[in-house]
Amino acid sequence: MERRVAAGVHVGKPRTRLGKRLAPYLLVLPGGLWLLIFFLVPIGFMASVSLQTGNLEEGFRQTWHFHRYIEVFQQYRPEFIRSFVYGSIATGITLAAGYPLAYWIAFHGGRHKTTFLFLLLLPFFVSFVIRTLAWQFILADDGIVLGALKRWHLLPHSFHVLATQTAVISGIAYNFLPFMALPLYVAIERIDRRVVEAASDLYANKRDVFLRVIFPLSIPGVFAGILLTFVPAVGDYVNASILGGTNTTMIGNIIQLEFLQNFHYPAAAALSFILMGILLVGIFIYARVLGARSIEEYV
């Protein structure tokens, strides 16, 4: 890329040379401004709101009440812990479900590879809310699945899943499974088959071929998948609110409630900030260790 640009610069007349120098900035400007005003600046505003005091009727004043962060964190510690636990378990499930699937499509998909990939993408053609809602119908006590199993006495009548942790975690795992499986597939598919063959030729058994060649080479996909799954899973509140009950409340539910129903803007902003802080620190360490580019490649 450097060479191309360098080659382009010396051909130009002075006027175009200035144009060339300005061109990238002009190209970035409109989108950059949009992101500045509606993405970066709002985060600053959220920081400011989180340190205000007041209520909707009397208005909010900037009081620099830093102590609020500690207060809200302590008040909602169970929800924070629950979110991270649910997010971790769901990410684990997607990895356990997605890796063999991605591996199988990449190595044994054969002629129908495209079809299997298409099946993997199929959930994206259905609205996220409706997909979650469909799980409510699947897991409902008298729904078409559990109801039938109970009628055939395959399940006891007291058995129910809806409004439990199991329902919420499996809903999250379901909704984010493609985000895990796709980067995994890309990473496994990219593995040079000659390397795999070479390992076999050198008398590695199947287990060693997998553990010492295929798996290490697929690690970037694993990391990208974990990032793409874990972050939205922790912040999710749709699954908890459609499939969960009173004791499966996640931090996302609280932020939403405080912002949109209770109008406790400062508390909600502080909670969002804590969530973002924890996740961003995690992402930064993650990106530092692995290199942001290598993750971005799979996004």
């Binding site: 890329m1 191309r4 640009v5 382009g8 061109a23 190209l27 950059g32 992101l35 509606f38 993405f39 709002p42 505003f45 400011s48 709101v49 479900a97 890796y99 063999p100 699937l101 199988w104 499509i105 044994h108 299997f116 298409f118 099946l119 199929l122 959930p123 994206f124 053609f125 259905v126 609205s127 996220f128 409706i130 997909r131 809602l133 469909a134 799980w135 119908f137 409902a140 078409i144 379901y174 499974l177 493609p178 795999v196 058994n205 199947k206 287990r207 071929v209 553990l211 972050v231 939205p232 912040g235 999710d236 996302g252 803007y265 902003a269 969002s272 969530l275 990106a287 971005e296 996004v299």
Partner: protein, 285 residues
């Protein structure tokens, strides 16, 4: 998985020869993959099925009450739901057009130029994609609240453009990577001005990438719930309406509309795949 691996004999050259494996363990992996695929598709089947449930016309019951076409013959019988769907489409079209233009320009700058601020731009895109949705939505709401901006369709469009720019930029950039700049130079050598070159050479070449970015933006916009929920005010979109109806009962039209949207999306995608197979000679290989 390791079970599959250990059953094999070490001597025989593994992985490649398919005919040699005779143990039942070779079915474990395909069966597992099949189950996972079934798990992925199951809710879609349920959605399609319950669109035909003859269980009252106000709300679909969890119980299966028999087959009915009611939801399809009365597809637009709920004016508020229809209006929400219409809003979703308007927002998706509007935000996709804006985000695709802005994102494509950023992608062009990133692929073609090395400039001061390039690293920062890439970092902002990365940050925008990796930040949790709830934080994006909440912080934008904090901005609107601070300035007393009334929430409605306009603020939803602003929000959707905000989260789509980065996705478009990254998609287009990936497709631009193999772009042959000699074609543009050739056009200019043949006397084409910068605009003619852009319109007649550059744009047709990068069009597939722009289209891919635009489709992604449209899909993300029409499906977005979290960020929209924070910035919608009293305005309704299809996902918001459905979410709101969960507590009072889902009318069968929701599943019917979901099914029709699903079918339209699948048809478009299949047509796209077939078309790409049809003409293997494209300019940017």
């Amino acid at each position: 998985m390791s079970v599959v691996m250990t059953r094999e004999v070490a001597k025989a050259p593994p992985v490649i020869p398919p005919g040699r494996r005779r143990t039942w363990t070779r079915f474990i992996l395909p069966a597992y993959a099949g189950l996972v695929l079934f798990y992925l598709v199951l809710p879609i089947l349920i959605m399609i099925l319950y669109g035909f449930n003859a269980s009252g016309f106000k709300r679909v019951s969890f119980r299966w009450e028999g087959f009915s076409l009611f939801a399809y013959t009365h597809l637009f019988a709920r004016p508020d739901l229809t209006a929400a769907l219409k809003n979703s489409l308007v927002i998706a079209v509007g935000s996709t057009i804006i985000a695709t233009m802005l994102g494509t320009l950023i992608a062009l700058a990133l692929v073609r130029y090395r400039f001061r601020g390039r690293g920062v731009s890439e970092f902002v895109l990365f940050l925008n994609i990796s930040a949790p949705e709830i934080v994006l939505g909440a912080s934008l709401l904090a901005l609107f609240v601070s300035f007393g901006v009334p929430r409605g369709l306009l603020t939803i469009v602003i929000a959707h453009v905000m989260f789509n720019i980065a996705y478009v930029a990254i998609t287009v950039r990936a497709r631009l990577a193999g772009f042959d700049r000699h074609l543009e130079e050739a056009a200019q050598d043949l006397g084409a001005g910068p605009w003619t070159t852009f319109l007649r050479v550059t744009l047709p070449l990068i069009w597939p990438g722009i289209l891919a970015g635009g489709l992604l933006a449209f899909a993300l916009s029409i499906d977005d719930f979290v960020i929209t929920n924070f910035n919608a005010g009293a305005a309704q979109t299809f996902p918001l309406w459905v979410y709101g109806a969960v507590k009072v009962g889902i009318p069968p039209q929701v599943f019917a509309m979901g099914t029709l949207i699903f079918m339209a999306g699948v048809l478009l995608a299949v047509a796209n795949i077939l078309l790409q197979h049809r003409k293997p000679v494209t300019l940017n290989r």
